[in-house]
């Protein structure tokens, strides 16, 4: 299956890219998507979204989803 992964703000700088496509079997949750990236443990304070809606680290992903990782938001 194919998942588009996006990174924002300080996490984008840390990971060194703003997006990446992962092609893999056996990627069932957001945490498992992160694990594929080879960036170590997913920090507890990192927020995530699936298809532009907030999700949890253990939320399920499916083929074609867009998964985003980012630090706490600071707008307004």
């Amino acid at each position: 299956m194919s998942i588009r992964v996006k990174f924002f703000a300080s996490l984008r700088e840390q990971v060194g890219q703003s997006e990446q496509e992962i092609m893999s079997k056996g990627v069932g949750t957001v945490s498992e998507v992160w694990a594929q990236l080879g960036e170590g443990e997913l920090p507890a304070d990192i927020l995530c979204a699936i298809n532009m809606d907030y999700a949890e680290h253990d939320s399920s992903v499916k083929d074609g989803d867009e998964v985003a990782f980012f630090p706490p938001v600071t707008g307004g």
């Binding site: 924002f8 703000a9 532009m52 985003a68 706490p72 938001v73 707008g75 307004g76």
Partner: protein, 147 residues
């Protein structure tokens, strides 16, 4: 409901006035209360002089989350109109960052909803601030509580 992101400086009061004149033309006499909030970039944060700031966002998700926040406000209070404007990109001190305006028949609803939307926006809308200090830059870590 109107939600808009501005990559260039915008004039919040002008936007508000134009929106009321254009979109609420046929509701003149219906709304008795307009509560609004404008957030402006300060030149000082956490004890440091800030010379500029870059506001990053998540195109698509940012707009979607702002719409959800506005919809929640419409469900919780009797509102006539919600108007949200937010800057993105490079911002200088003194420039407006955000405008939230709410029209209602009664002032209690307008005040409550305007403040609710601001707090939700601060805590749920995907924007990230990076401040330029003297010769270096830093990401703002978290927003302060507004109550």
């Amino acid at each position: 409901m109107k939600i808009q992101l501005h990559p260039e400086p915008f004039n919040p009061w002008q936007e508000l006035e134009n929106h009321q004149r254009q979109q609420l033309r046929n509701q003149q006499g219906e709304f008795g209360a307009t509560a609004s909030f404008v957030g402006t970039m300060r030149d000082f944060n956490e004890g440091d002089q800030v010379s500029a700031m870059t506001l990053e966002y998540y195109p698509g998700m940012t707009e979607k989350q702002l719409e959800k926040i506005a919809e929640t406000a419409y469900q919780r209070w009797e509102l006539i109109e919600v108007f949200i404007q937010h800057r993105v990109g490079e911002i200088k001190p003194g420039q407006p960052i955000v405008l939230v305006a709410v029209w209602s028949s009664h002032r209690g609803n307008a005040f409550d909803a305007c403040r609710f939307i601001m707090e939700e926006l601060k805590h749920r809308a995907p924007f990230w601030k990076k401040e330029d200090l003297d010769g270096q830059s830093r990401w703002v870590e978290s927003n302060t509580d507004g109550y």
